[in-house]
Each structure stands twice: as structure tokens, then as C-alpha cells.
Amino acid sequence: MRIDQIHMADSGKLLSQLADRILYLIDIKGNSEYGNIGDLLGQVQRLRQSLFEIKESDLFEEIDRVEDRVSFLEDRVAEKLSPAEIVNIVRSPQRFTLMDILENVYDSYTELGGEGDCNIDPAIGVARASISRRVKNRLYSHQVMVIGHEKGRGEEYRNAGCARPWGNNKALKYMRVAETEGIPIHFYIFTPGSYPIEDYPGAAQQIARNLYVMTKLKVPMVSFISEGGSGGAEAIGASGLRLMGSRGYYSVISPEGAAAIEGKIREGEKLPRKLLEHCAAQLKITAEDNLKLGTIDRIIQEPPLGARRDDFPFFRRLRYEMLRATDEVVLKTKNFRAFRAYALKRQAEEGKDVPEDFDLFISWSLTDLEKERLLEFRFKKYIELGKGYFIENKNILTQGIRKTKLFASRTYYDLRYGLLRPHHRNVQKVIEEVSGEGSVFLRKVTEPVRAAYDFVFPQPERPSKVIRSGEPERKSIFAEEWDPYVSPLANEDCTVTCPNAAKHGCLDLWVPDLYGEFCGVCPNCGHHFPLEYQWYLENLFDKNSVREFNAHIASCNPLGFQGYSVRLKKDIKHTGRNSSIITFDAEVWGLRLVVAMLFSNFRGGTVGAAEGEKFIRACDIASTTRRPLLAYIHSTGGIRIHEGTLGVVQMPKCTFGVREYNDNGGLYIVVYDNNSYAGPVASFLGCSLYQFGIRSSRIGFAGPRVIRETTGQDVPPDYHSAKNALRRGHIQGIWDRREFKKNLYDALMTLGGPNLYYR
């Protein structure tokens, strides 16, 4: 090849790179008007077309000029990147993907669970990979399981990294494989959210199952977030250490979704760009924001405008950071002193270049004891998330009294159920065995005498009384309900129409009858009209048995979300409560239980830091007192978007609480009523082994509008019905509101763990 030809080839390559850089800038800014980038792109394209017609020196001069301009614009853009622009960076087709990481960070890999479009779910990539480090000129290799979202290069089948339920199930399957083989897992999160469909087992159920398993997965786990979209991210995100790219985003909801809710934008209408930018800024989605909030552990620096597919120095850094992070998770379990020394050294290295050599080799295999420690550290880490982002009475005296009370009750219950009860059981067992053996011996002696007596004086057979042990004597319903609670809805003198009137021919219902005698249930078709949560407080539990605790924990506006404080105050004033969850002790026909009730009147029953903390404490109390735990969901709209990722982390946090309670031998029952959607259903509610729905309730992951907008397909009107949830196995039964108490009592008596006080 001649020199001038080589130069021409170089100029072609240079122009192509320039075009990519300009297109990337257009992606970031969302338009081609900024700094006349559009014209610049036109200029580059013209140069590419007339490559061989322009004099070489003129061509290179022109290229230099364009490059200077592009570099100048890049610097300007990088100086002040808005959160909305960061979202654009993450979603750019030039952004690195999981495949780029597998190619450049790991030495070798074998893809599992499918390749390309021949896949269980192409949006989830799984690979067994090896990653090596050099220590004093010697190469050490580690085996890891890599699980992540694969966004692809615009292939439709990749679904932009939105995992379907079976994709998350595939991830779960290989998490278990890694646990069996005892190798660490590296998660890479590149998802705008989970694909919101209710095909078996349902998006929410699968995420909840993943989270539940991850709470006690006995292998070191490290995750890296590039695009962390709410529940989809959590499905593979509850790891021991969470890293995030400096140009990534981690959010409770997509900025588009938040803008549609905040701006009350109608379906199909275009979102105003300013509103979108405003919401992206309010949600605190950037890596710096998340680090401040404590929802991630470390930031991995990317180039100012974010790493792209061919950013090899970044891949080198990522490799180093993943190795270091896994070392940290492992070291913590081995020896805390060694870990501290390592962490200090690591801190000193912060911001420096990636070294060629590692100073030591750390084995990633763990002993049984270390695995226990690993789980303990993970539990502690997640339980602490979001603390300090709710209002709690910090009065020393009050706190002291509370702590003393807690200590006293813990000691009492430990003594009663942990020490005395097993002893009592053992003694009882011995007495039963002795008396059983004694009676057998006595029977042998007395049998011939008794037989002779019966033969001489035959007795007519009498039916024996049936005694049902453990069930208290039930009083007449009239004796119990002389002073029943009647819903204030019944005070209106009018009629209402049952929504099933056209289908089942239901007659109009007189409201005082409907909300009084009929308990809000259509006597013809059984449709359940919504009732306020107070109705359940009064009718579900024994009279005067409800004792609320932690009512002082209050929601606040931790992100300073504009306009939210006013709305929050309004809700506090309107409901007289501090959060959307009420936690209390109660009794059902004498059976004591702990209840967490999410109700709709306060921010639509959404979950934030205060709600998560109250739920965790309820789990703890139920565990201490050996009582069953009931989560009655009057209504929940998901995670509270105004608390950003502080809300999202309540998903793993509360799931950890539930898992700990279940493993301690508790019984956790969830009952859904009215509407239950999104994050809570996809985590600490959905992970319950026993879930029930009240008739006419709706349960699911995303509402019909979100499904329509995401999948482009309409959903049938009964898509989220309790019946469909039962059909796909999400819930175990549908209860009638009028028989709620009886069903709950039966469930408490028949289901449950071994450590409950009445077992």
C-alpha cells in the first residue's frame, strides 16, 4: 500500500471516529442544536463523501479543525452534566455492555443459559468466567459466575436489558449453581427496569424470590451498577458490596415515569423536556448522590463523558476494582484486623492509577464459619440502609426507656420461650412417655379382668365428646358484636351500583346496608367494595387488643424533593399518622400476633425509609416474642418515588428482615387487599411463603398503563385480579372479607414455623 493510500485510510478512520463522537454528543444532549453539533456532523459526512476529491493537506487541516471543535464541545458538556444527560449517556448505544465487560475484564468465559437470541431470556447474560491477577510475577486465576443484564447493540430481542420473569429465574438458577460450586458472583446491572408482565410466576414474584434467596446465598457477591432501574436492578443487586460507575444512574423509577406521575401527564401525551430534567434532578440518581445516601458503597471512575465500548483503560480499572471488591467481601469474613489493614491501604490507593501487580493473593473460598460471617455482615449492612432518613424522637430519656424496655422484653421472652419452654416440653414429653408405658403395663394386668367384667355387665356404647385441642371456645357473634364498628361510609343515604351489575344483574345497593350489614360486599355477586383500614383494625382483631408500637417514627423528605414536604404534611394532618404503615400487637380469638399494616390514605400506601424501618422492627419484635407476623396490605402503590433509591433499598432491607424472622421459626402471612403493586410486592411481601388475597383485590408488578407503555400491548381488564394471582401461584387463597378473621385464625393454627409460642 502506498503512503498516501495509508494516509487516506487513516483519514477515513479519523472521520468515522469523529462522527461517532459527534453522535455521542447528540445522544447526551438529546438534540443536535447544542453548539451546532448537527452542522458539525454534516461537515464530517461531507468530508467522508469527498475523501478522495480533497487535497490531503486540506483534508487533515479540516479534520483538525473539526476535532478541535468536538473536543471543545466535549469539555464543555463534561463540565456540567445534568442528571438527565447522565441518563442519556447510560442509554447511548455507544455505552459498554455486559458482553464488552466479559470480553475485556475477564480472561475467558463460557456463556450459560443461551447465546444471542437463542436464549431463555436474551436480556439476562450469565457466564462462567475466569479473572486473574499478577502477584510478584506470578499469575493467579479465580473462577467467578458473572450475571448481568445485556442491553446489546440495539437488538430488539435484548429488550433493552429488561428481564422477563424467566430471565430473572435464569439468574437465580445460576446463583444457586455458584453457591453449589462455592465461587463468587459478579453482578452487572444494566437495566431500565424489569419487564412488567404477569406471566408465570409474575415479574414481582420472581424478583421477590431472587431477593429472598440472595439474603442467604453463601458466596461472596459484588455488583456493579451502570443503569439501575428500580426492582429490575434489585433482582440481581442485593450483594455484599455495591459499586457504581461514575456516569451510571440508580433510580427508584425512570425519570420518564416520575415525570408522568409528577406532571399528571395523560397516556400518549409527550413529556415536556423541562419536566423530565427536573424529575431526573429531584430523584438524586447519580453515583455521587447515591454514595452520599449510602445506597452504594463505592464509585468507579469513568472518563468524563462516560465509558464506551472501546474504553480499555476503564475496563482495566473495572477489572482491578472487581478483584479488590471481592477481596474485601472475602477478607471481612476471614479476619477483621487483616480486613481493616487492607481497607486502609485501599483508601490510600483511592484516586491513583491502577497498579500492574497486586501485593497479595487472597483465596476466595470460604469455610463454613466464614460463610456464616459473610451472611451476618450482609444482613447487618442491609438492615442499616436508610437509617437516619426518617424522623425519630432523639430524646435521650425516651430512647433510654425504649432500649431498656426492648432489653427487658428480649430477656423475658428468651427466658420464657428459649429456655423454659424447651425444658417444659422435654419434661412433658418424658411424663407422657412414662405414663404411656405405665398405662400399657397396667392394661396388660387389668385387661382380662375388664374383659370378664364387660362380658358379665355389658355397657351400651356412648358417643365420645369431640375435643378440639388448641381452639378456644367461641362466643356467640351477638354477644361479641353488641357494639360493632360501622364504616363512616354507611352514613350516606344513597344507593350505589355494583360494578358487576351488567354481568350478574346485581341490584342497586343502599349504602347504609352495604357498608353496615353487608360489610361492603355485594350480596349478589360477592364484589368487595373498598373499606377504610380502620374497619379492619376494629373488626379483624379482638376488642381492645390492638397495641401500636413505633408510631413515633415519621416519614420525611430526605432528598428535598420539591413540593413533597407540603404534600407530606397534608397527609400527616389528614390521617393523624406519621407514615403509611401501622405496626401493632393484636389478638385474633386469643392468639397474639404482630401486625404490619400498609394503608392507602397516606401517600397511597407507598414505602419509604420510615416504613421500611418500622417493618424491620416489627419483624424483630415478632421474632423476639415468638409471635406470628401478619402483613395486611390495605393498599400499596409501591416504593415512594420521592425518597429515590432510599426507597428502593427498602426492598432488600425488609426482605432481609423477613428472611431472618422466617429462619428463626416464625410464621409470616401476607394478605393483600384493594391494590398492591410494584416494589413491596416484588420483595418483602412477595417473598412470603403464605400469601392470600381478599376478594376483588388486584395484585401485580406494574399497572396497566405502565405495561401498555413498556410492552406496547394492552392487558385484559382482569389481568391483575386476585383470581389470576391465584392461578399463577402467587397467592395461596382468596378470602372473603366477612370471613377474614376465621380464615386468619385457621391459617395461624394450621400453618407456620416451629418456634411460635403456641406450637
Binding site: 350516606e492 344513597c494 344507593t495 350505589v496 351500583t497 342497586d508 343502599w510 394492552d714 385484559p716 381488564p717
Partner: protein, 214 residues
Amino acid sequence: MDINLNDLLRRYRSHPFEDYFVETPHTGVVFFKVKEGQTVKGPSGEWLHRPGTLLYTIERERNVKRMTALWSGQISGIRLDIEGRFVEAGEPLFSIRHQLDKEEIIDRILTQVLYIFSAPQRARYFLTPEISARMEKRSKKGVSVEFGEDVLIMSLMKRDTVVSYEGVPGSLYKVYFNSGDMVEQGAPLLGICSPDKLQYVQKVIHRIRTEWEK
């Protein structure tokens, strides 16, 4: 089956409408939400889950019911004299004149002309291999079926039962299901046309499809 197709055709040509009379379902005070001549839409969506145009409200016992259109068409004969007044149940309010399109007219003619063989029970249905082979060889309109002939295979719970045709002999004109579909009990499976009317029916339908404007 003694139907004069010419009369039928003439009737539809001169009056290609179906008038649906809207009456009050019960007593109450009526407020109209439509005007004379206004075009209204019936329920839409894949599951007809989006309600049609709001026609009127009827209030009884402070319960305001919003009544929506069940058919698409044009409002005619609206009784504005009863606007805001208490009326009895079954009071005529207006009619919705629904213009029949070509396919609707064809369907109506066919339901009157054809003998409909319905599903004896809820199951998956297949045509017997003999009928399928005959249909492949000739056009389906030419396949004749006799009384007692095995025409369908009913598949339920992994058991296949042959279903014999019990109706007037004739030509198989229309198959209303896709092979292997789950069909509800009583839903139409086959449409049979008597041989003497076959050609004439085909001609009429061809004319409707090609000559009629809408």
C-alpha cells in the same frame, strides 16, 4: 330454509341499518349527554373493556349512573322533553341507528340461510382427516356433508371423540373455528348450505362484496 334471498338483499340495500332502541333500565331522573344526530361509539378494545360514548345519566336515590353506548351509530329520535325529569323504567329515550357494513350484512344473511352446527361441549375441535383432505382437493364450498357423517374430532382431556354431523345435508360453507382451538359449548362450528341455494348464496355474497360501497 325457505328464504327469499332477493327480498333479503333488497331489504338490506334499501335499509342497511339496525336501529337499537335505548330505554331506561329503571326509574330515575334522566340527563342526556348526546345530541340529535351525534355519532356515538360502542365499547372498544380487545376485550371490549373501554366503555363507549357516554349517552345519558340516570339518577335514582342519589345514585348517578353513567350509561354508555353499547353500539356504534347515530343518535336519532332523542326525547328532549324528558330531560331532567323523573321517568319510569322502560321509557324510550332515543335510538342508535347503526349502519351495517358489508361483513355484518353477509353474516346476517348467512345466519339466516346456513344451517349452523354448534359445539356440543367445551373442547378443542379438529376437522376429520377425510373432510380436511376433501377441502384441500376442492374448495371448501364444494365439500358436501351427509347426515351421520363423521365431520369433527372433539379433543378433551387427551381423549378424542368423533362427532357425527346431525343436520340437513348440504355443502360445508363456513368453518367458524381454527383447528385445535378451544371452543365454548354452543358456539358455531360449521355453517352448512343446502345444495340448491349454494350457488345463489355465493353469487349474492360476491355481489355484496364487490358492488356495495361500504
